[in-house]
């Protein structure tokens, strides 16, 4: 068995997780080195994909359908790059954010396990492996949710656990149907299969399971509490990265097995619209900063599904690009935002929006970071979020789907409204006339979120290379 970049991408974090678990004292070091090495492996893999298009590796030399094949193309590599890149910066942010020894000790193995699961999803080529990977992700993610050990976090984590396992089991049931019907589970098999009622039922089960895991309205009920009550680095990972895994599978599956009816596509878009509106209203009402940020994730997931639905079944081959751009944009910006929110909470000692300005400590840099990330999430130029929204609206307008344009615009206005609640608090320090301390509330810990936030803006100017990278090895959904 040769060691190649793809295998490393999958196994480095796995071994890192084990090592970090066995050697809790060295967990931080092991964790950082592992994430860095994974970034390197992804980089090597990216070079291969740039050269050759899609790359396929049968794991352990066993060919599909019996063995497990790994496959990387532009889309999966973009997801891998986002995961390891954002993951690296969140890891750096976590150095400071996790004060408690016990938290540090468990954070690293859980996070590396999570990384394994996500890399597995992005490289996986058969749906049973995807099932295993989403279960791995679910267990690690629940562990991260309850890391703070508070009662609220435990309750939210348990709800998350139920939703996540149920979603995975619905997916597994679908997998069972597929095997019953086709006798194989690899993507190539799905692609070759003739559409039939049984396959559609299987697809429906799998998709509902995925929607539950990615928290599309109205299956989002578990998300706000889970993401708002976790510790900041965990929230950043959960909101920025974890929900994307299920979204990615959704994108892949619906490309290989197109939805049988355009009404279903519209229905999914309508759920996305529901998420944008309902999530927006809830974010307007949220009293705590982290809860607001969590609701904005619900909104953004909705927007991504609108991107997915915007061109209907016919145009699906194009619309995935808008969805992919939005996924990347949200991953980077939301991680920055949650880390920044965590920093603000650390400095002020609370994150109640109404009282953000009632302190004479000014976490200026964290607030600046938060605002930059918000620009990308609202979708203001020239951020990556803007480019995603531009692509979405361009497609929707060109296809004459004006309702999606309208929903997107309403969603944008809502997001301006709820983020401006926060901005006003940031800018209005004068309510406390106490002598403003020379302590500016800056710290080294602001560097990681700030880097992410700057990336979320400046990546927008690099949209053209990102788009062409996404298309590598894709060829309209046909597996080479």
């Amino acid at each position: 068995m040769t060691i190649d970049a793809m295998t490393l991408t999958l196994f480095l974090p796995l071994f890192g997780a084990m090592a970090a678990f066995v050697l809790p004292r060295a967990a931080t070091g092991i964790g950082l080195v592992t994430v860095l090495a994974t970034c390197g492996a992804v980089w090597l893999l990216a070079l291969e994909v740039l050269k050759a298009g899609a790359v396929i590796t049968p794991l352990g030399g066993w060919e599909a359908p019996l063995g497990i094949a790994l496959r990387a193309d532009g889309l999966s590599l973009a997801m891998l790059a986002m995961t390891s890149g954002v993951g690296l910066l969140v890891s750096l942010g976590a150095l400071n954010a996790l004060r408690d020894l016990r938290q540090r000790q468990y954070f690293w193995p859980l996070w590396l396990l999570l990384l394994t699961g996500m890399n597995g999803v992005y490289l996986g080529t058969d749906i049973f492996n995807l099932y295993v990977m989403i279960e791995v992700i679910a267990l690690a993610a629940v562990g991260l949710t309850v890391l703070s050990g508070t009662k609220e976090a435990l309750r939210a984590g348990l709800e998350y656990m139920y939703a996540s396992i149920l979603g995975a089991l619905l997916f597994l049931m679908g997998v069972g149907f597929v095997y019953l019907h086709l006798g194989r589970l690899d993507f190539a098999g799905l692609l070759e299969a003739e559409p039939s009622g049984a396959l559609s039922a299987a697809l429906a089960l799998m998709l509902v399971g995925l929607l539950l895991k990615t928290a599309l309205f109205p299956l989002h009920f578990w998300l706000p509490a889970a993401h708002a009550n976790a510790t900041a680095p965990a929230s950043a990972l959960l909101s920025g990265l974890v929900v994307k895994a299920a979204l990615y599978i959704f994108l892949r599956l619906t490309t290989y097995m197109p939805l049988p009816d355009e009404i279903l596509v519209t229905l999914i878009g309508a759920l996305g619209a529901g998420a944008v509106l309902w999530g927006g209203v809830q974010a307007l009402r949220a009293e705590r900063l982290k809860l607001l940020v969590a609701w904005s994730t619900v909104v953004q997931i909705g927007l991504i599904f609108i991107a997915f639905a915007r061109a209907g079944q016919v145009g699906l081959t194009e619309s995935w690009k808008a969805a992919a751009l939005l996924i990347l944009a949200h991953g980077v910006a939301k991680a920055a935002m949650f880390l920044a929110a965590g920093r603000i909470k650390d400095e002020l000692g609370h994150d109640i929006i109404r009282d953000l300005d009632k302190s004479n400590i000014r976490p200026t840099l964290a607030q600046f970071t938060f605002a930059l990330a918000a620009i990308s999430i609202i979708g203001l130029p020239p951020s990556l979020g803007f480019i995603g929204k531009w692509t979405l609206m361009e497609g929707a307008m060109a296809a004459g789907y004006w309702h999606w344009v309208v929903v997107t615009m309403i969603g944008t206005l809502l997001s301006v409204a709820y983020f401006s609640r926060v901005f006003a608090g940031f800018l209005r320090f004068d309510r406390v006339r106490a002598p403003v301390g020379e302590h500016q509330g800056w710290a080294l810990a602001d560097v990681a979120p700030l880097t992410l936030a700057i990336a979320s803006i400046s990546l927008g100017l690099m949209a053209a290379p990102i788009l062409s990278f996404l298309e590598l090895g894709y060829a309209l959904g046909v597996m080479p």
């Binding site: 009662k151 435990l154 348990l158 089991l169 149907f177 095997y179 006798g183």
Partner: protein
């Protein structure tokens, strides 16, 4: 009725019972058990997928999948139970 149909329908029925429980039950432990039922149902279905009209040997791949599924579910159950215990002890502290 062929055996695969019987097992298949049973699998679906067990899954449905589990699903109902997972959605409707209030008690934390019951919901965990309901999820276990779901996984059993899905396992049944995979076993059916392995069945071949004798004397043909059954397909080994689904068996491997079922075993993997069981392992995954055991881990999930363990995590859920640990969470519930921790939560209960925290809540008990509050009551005192």
């Amino acid at each position: 009725m062929t055996p695969d149909l019987i097992y298949g329908l049973t699998g679906i029925a067990v899954f449905a019972i589990g699903l109902t429980g997972a959605l409707c039950a209030q008690d934390r432990l019951r919901r965990v058990l309901a999820l276990k039922l779901c996984s059993l149902g899905a396992g049944f279905l995979l076993v059916v997928a392995a069945w071949r009209e004798p004397p043909a040997a059954p397909d080994p791949v689904p068996h491997a999948l079922v075993i993997t599924g069981i392992v995954v579910m055991i881990s999930a159950t363990a995590v859920a139970l640990a969470l519930i215990r921790r939560l209960q002890s925290l809540e008990a502290e509050d009551d005192d």
